[in-house]
């Protein structure tokens, strides 16, 4: 006897961008096998795919508006709002995350252009993996289900492990890949073990269901759930490189190919934070008082360690990695505000990831797309050798440091503000002091670029794609810094369910 399986209805819009990118990845591989096209062609195709994904994301944006406008009264509400039996959710956060991921991916592909050309035949796999990683993290950001979240996490992460080691000819790349892989696997295992504990403790896997269960009972001994929650948090904290779970980041940022490190770091952060917000705010609001101090502690440690250790780095990429740790701390600070923090976190993520990709674009242009060492001395006198690179890098660094008239300042300000309201004044003060320390290492690079004459090696002009990435990210940084309204409004609508 064969049981009849009822075909479920599928709301395609909800996974439009993922479909586009997933199919795109498959097509890249197939095209490569079939036609062996030039890398340039493949790259353009990827851009096309991303353009489609962007369009579909926009469609999702409209759809969310529509869903919200119709409200719960709509008979199809659940089917459209939490499609696929509640595995994912089509809310503003998910759409915003996709916007960020798609854009960051496009920027990453553009700044990795030289890398792909140097990879020869492996370019196709690399491009496909980039698309797949993006797909995974955007699924992760949209998921409303712990196992779905794990799958998205793994799709993205495994693709990133490979990308870290894609330039095999260099030892650093191997080292980065194995370190990333081993630690990443442990973190994933910790995450999914946490999921299993939560499941064991509540009998639920859907985030909303977990919350529903916890809201309905009074647990006197919630040890298993609490441990599970914390393990999930740790797994995600690893992904966003929050201290003390950050040790992989500097090595991977340094060892992985410069062209795509920015992309790798950015999408992992977006996916990780999206999941973290969802897990903590959607599934465990009951335990807010329990996790808040811990997140605050992680945030403080991240900011301090990131800033202080970045001060003594001589390699720009390691410096950016540690600054990324500090940034993770800043973003976590926003979580102190609970639901009110979600929008500022998303704003922060949007501006920071764009800056990060742009900054690594510069690093790639200066130290070579496949290169792994980018000692700060390589930047000496950059202002004279390549003023445009220097200026854009300076803008991006200033943006990351959070000085006014850049998007970074608005982002930090927003985070601090909500955290202060939430009563975490001490954390804000730590954050402020950490950002002062952070000024030092950003300025140090600027010093070398502008105030040091350095060797007079002429740089070859970076290709158009990288140049447009740099100009775009720098302009974005300033534009959002001056007129943050539209982006803030977009992020402000994000309210965790």
């Amino acid at each position: 006897m064969i049981a009849q399986v009822a075909a479920p209805s599928v709301y395609w819009t909800a996974i439009g961008p993922e479909l586009a990118m997933g199919i795109g990845a498959a097509l890249v591989l197939l095209l490569d096998v079939q036609f062996k096209p030039a890398t340039k062609v493949l790259g353009r195709f990827v851009f096309f795919v991303l353009l489609v994904a962007l369009g579909l994301t926009f469609a999702q944006h409209l759809a969310v508006d529509d869903i919200m406008a119709r409200g719960t009264g709509d008979p199809a509400f659940l089917e459209r709002f939490v499609p696929f039996s509640g595995m994912i959710v089509l809310d503003r956060a998910a759409v915003f995350a996709r916007f960020v991921i798609v854009v960051v991916t496009a920027l990453g592909v553009a700044s990795g252009w030289k890398l792909f050309e140097s990879l020869g035949r492996r370019a196709a796999e690399t491009l496909a993996l980039i698309l797949l990683a993006a797909t995974g993290f955007s699924l992760m950001a949209a998921s409303l289900h712990l196992v779905m979240m794990f799958l998205g996490l793994e799709i993205g992460s495994i693709a990133l492990y490979v990308l870290a080691g894609v330039t095999r000819e260099r030892a650093d790349s191997d080292e980065a890949a194995i370190k990333y892989f081993l630690l990443g696997s442990v973190a994933s295992a910790v995450f999914i073990y946490g999921v299993s504990l939560v499941y064991a403790g509540t009998g639920q896997l859907g985030l909303g269901d977990v919350r529903g269960y916890l809201a309905g009972v009074v647990l006197t001994k919630p040890a298993v759930v609490l441990i599970g929650m914390m393990l999930i948090t740790v797994g995600l904290a690893f992904k966003v490189s929050a201290a003390p779970f950050h040790s992989w980041a500097p090595d991977v940022y340094q060892g992985a190919p410069a062209g795509i490190v920015g992309f790798m770091a950015s999408v992992a952060k977006v996916g990780g934070f999206a999941a973290l917000i969802r897990v903590l705010l959607t599934a465990f609001p009951q335990f807010t008082d329990d996790w808040k101090p811990i997140i605050a502690g992680l945030a403080a440690v991240s900011m301090v360690v990131g800033a202080v250790v970045a001060v003594v780095q001589d390699d720009v990429r390691r410096m950016l990695a540690y600054s990324g740790v500090a940034h993770a701390g800043f973003i976590l600070t926003g979580l102190m505000a609970g639901a009110a923090g979600a929008s500022v976190i998303w704003f922060y993520l949007a501006v920071y990831t764009v800056q990060l990709v742009g900054a690594f674009g510069v690093v790639a242009a200066v130290s070579g797309a496949a290169g792994s060492r980018s000692d700060i001395s390589a930047f000496a006198g950059l202002a004279r050798r390549s003023p445009h690179l220097a200026v854009t890098f300076a803008v991006l660094l200033v943006g990351m440091s959070g000085l006014p008239v850049t998007s970074g300042f608005i982002a930090k300000f927003g985070v601090f503000q909500v955290a202060w309201i939430a009563g975490y004044q001490w954390l804000v003060i730590v954050a402020l002091l950490a950002s002062v320390v952070a000024f030092f290492f950003y300025l140090r690079v600027i010093v070398r670029m502008f105030m040091d004459d350095g060797e007079s090696v002429e740089l070859e002009t970076p290709p158009l794609s990288i140049r447009s990435v740099l100009v775009g990210t720098a302009l974005f940084t300033i534009l959002v810094g001056v007129l943050p309204g539209p982006l803030l409004d977009l992020a402000r609508e994000i309210i965790p369910i």
Partner: protein, 629 residues
């Protein structure tokens, strides 16, 4: 006439400005004449404006408000024109004009001839601001501006390091006195809410308590002591002789140094309420008079003798003013202006004739070579020595009379004054004899000659004034007193004892003292050099002490300047750099150090990363189980 009063200040100021920008083009000697006309013009205006005071038409002062300056402290730029300021103006502009004329000759050939007259005019303007001010703030402005001009003129020969240092010293010491002045102003403002003379003096009696008045009075004394070179702030004045001689005459004899006396007299209303402060002023004055006179005895530099003599005479003025004898003080101020200007210009003429020689031991026998100078100097010497009938006699006598009349402690002051009178007569005679009489002791190649007319005429005029200047306020005709009385409305003025007998006794005593001094001086110094040198040696170490001015500069150097310097060095190089800046840089270094040690956790071994990760995990889990739930 009131509306033209501003011209008094404006004329020399305009002269200064014009000469500043175009002086070089105007050239010598026209620049000098221009400056002279500027100040002469303001003398004329002042004279015209002062007519009502002479005639007795105007009794009260008049005001001319120029414009608001600092309304928050009630300070406007205003001219107060009363008898006191009128008299001061006349002295300043009158003597000033003569000195200008003299300087045309004296500064002949100096490459910065026009610049010199710029400064002279500027000085005149500043001094006029001081005496014409209608409030303390503006007075302070003039006060400081004359300090500036004094600085500029003392260090006029900038290439001489000693001149530059002397200028700086003058300004700084004056500034130290200014601390007192400024604090006094603060007190005044805090009590009255204004700094205008009117507002302060009219309400002084009702507002000030005794101690407050004493405090203000003493603080004003500090300021006045700085400017008028009283003990202990007189040290700048002898050094100020580094400037060109007309400067010494104008600033350091006739005008600027009297500003302190003027200030005390102007603030009579406050000292009236503070007898203790007044007595302090008088005591300081007496001490200064004696102290400086004793130093003057042993000086060999022709100008230094005069410098210490000036300090001494200023002491007289303080003595009088402190005891309430404001008229006597101002009277002496005026006569002193005449004869001291005369003496300085005379000495300038000598120096000029002796090719910049200032050491009296290398002079002698100049009477024949410089008859006019010698004659006028003789008049000046007699006047300052208190020779009966001459200007100094009348004014000094009045001061001593005031002191005697007060009695009590003031009697001690009177004795000091009398002693000073004798010493003064002695050292002035010594000076005259050493310079003009006896045999020439000139250095080789020196050809003394009489100065040109442009220099001698002012001498003659001043000599004439030194003779007759005292007659304005003889006991027979208290002209000056009547003239000044309106300015001291409501103030009890101190007078010498009444009656001819007392006058005769007191005058007799002082004349006796003066004549004794003259006699000793003449008898000692008209003999050959070996003999007066033996006389000087007879004083033993004391003479050397006088010669070195009691080593006060050294003492100040050792007790204030060097320790101050050391403090500054310690602050700058032992505190500021290593400690304060070190702390700042230390924070930076500490951050880097923490960073360096923290980065060691990042060993590069993936397994130690694992340990870190698991540690974090365990901590977090334990935390949530213990703290969390």
């Amino acid at each position: 006439m009131t509306q033209y009063l501003w011209l008094i200040i404006a004329l020399p100021l305009a002269g200064a400005l014009f000469l500043h920008f175009f002086g070089r083009r105007v050239g010598e000697p026209r620049a000098g004449w221009l400056a002279t006309f500027a100040i002469g013009g303001s003398f004329a205006v002042a004279l015209a404006a002062a007519v009502p005071f002479f005639t007795g038409e105007a009794i009260h002062g008049e005001h001319l408000t120029l414009w608001d300056w600092m309304p928050a402290v009630g300070a406007t730029l205003e001219i107060q024109w009363d008898a006191l300021s009128a008299l001061m103006t006349l002295v300043v502009t009158g003597v000033g004009t003569l000195i200008h004329v003299f300087a045309i000759g004296y500064m002949h050939g100096d490459p910065r001839f026009s610049r010199f007259f710029t400064y002279l005019n500027l000085f005149a303007a500043s001094m006029l601001v001081l005496v014409l001010a209608g409030n303390f703030a503006m007075l302070f402005m003039g006060w400081e501006l004359v300090g500036l001009c004094s600085f500029l003129l003392i260090s006029f020969w900038q290439h001489k390091p000693s001149a530059a240092a002397a200028g700086k010293k003058a300004f700084v010491v004056n500034r130290i006195g200014d601390i007192g002045f400024v604090i006094a102003l603060m007190l005044i403002f805090a009590n009255f809410g204004t700094l205008s003379f009117e507002g302060v003096f009219e309400r002084a009696a009702e507002v000030l308590s005794g101690p407050e008045a004493v405090a203000i009075g003493l603080l004003l004394l500090v300021g006045a002591a700085g400017k008028s070179a009283q003990v202990p702030l007189y040290v700048w004045l002898p050094d100020a002789m580094e400037g060109p001689t007309p400067v010494s005459a104008l600033i350091h004899a006739a005008t600027m140094v009297t500003a302190g006396v003027y200030l005390v007299s102007r603030s009579a209303a406050i000292f009236e309420l503070a007898p203790a402060a007044g007595m302090t002023v008088a005591t300081v004055g007496a001490i200064t008079a004696l102290w400086a006179a004793s130093i003057a005895i042993a000086q060999t530099d022709i100008k230094r003798v005069l410098a210490y003599s000036t300090i001494s005479q200023l002491g007289y003025m303080f003595l009088a003013a402190g005891l309430g004898g404001y008229v006597a003080a101002i009277f002496h101020l005026m006569t002193h202006a005449f004869f001291k200007a005369l003496l300085f210009l005379g000495s300038g003429s000598v120096i000029h004739g002796m090719h910049e020689e200032q050491d009296m031991r290398r002079m002698g026998g100049l009477l024949k070579k410089m008859p006019v100078t010698a004659a006028t100097m003789a008049v000046g010497t007699l006047a300052i020595a208190g020779f009966p009938g001459l200007a100094g006699f009348w004014s000094k006598d009045e001061i001593l009379g005031v002191a005697f009349e007060r009695g009590g402690f003031a009697t001690v002051l009177w004795i000091a004054g009398l002693l000073t009178a004798m010493i003064t007569a002695f050292y002035m005679t010594r000076q005259f004899v050493l310079v003009f009489l006896g045999k020439p002791r000139w250095s080789e190649g020196v050809e003394p000659h009489e100065s040109p007319r442009v220099m001698t005429i002012p001498l003659v005029v001043l000599a004439a004034l030194s003779v007759v200047g005292g007659l304005v306020n003889t006991p027979i005709r208290f002209g000056l007193e009547h003239f000044l009385e309106p300015a001291f409305e409501g103030i009890k003025l101190a007078h010498p004892p009444e009656g001819w007998l007392m006058f005769a006794i007191l005058a007799g005593l002082s004349v006796l003292a003066g004549l004794a001094g003259i006699a000793i001086g003449y008898l000692v110094y008209s003999r050959p050099q070996e003999q007066w040198e033996r006389f000087e040696g007879g004083f033993g170490k004391l003479w050397g002490l006088w010669e070195r001015a009691y080593d006060v500069d050294d003492v100040y150097g050792k007790t204030i300047v060097s320790p101050g310097r050391k403090v500054a060095e310690v602050a700058a190089f032992k505190v500021d750099l290593p400690i304060i800046d070190g702390a700042v840089n230390g924070v930076g270094k500490a951050v880097a150090l923490v960073g360096e040690s923290t980065r060691r956790i990042q060993t590069g071994f993936v397994r130690s990363y694992g340990v870190l990760f698991v540690s974090g995990l365990v901590v977090v889990v334990i935390w949530i189980l213990t703290v969390g739930a």
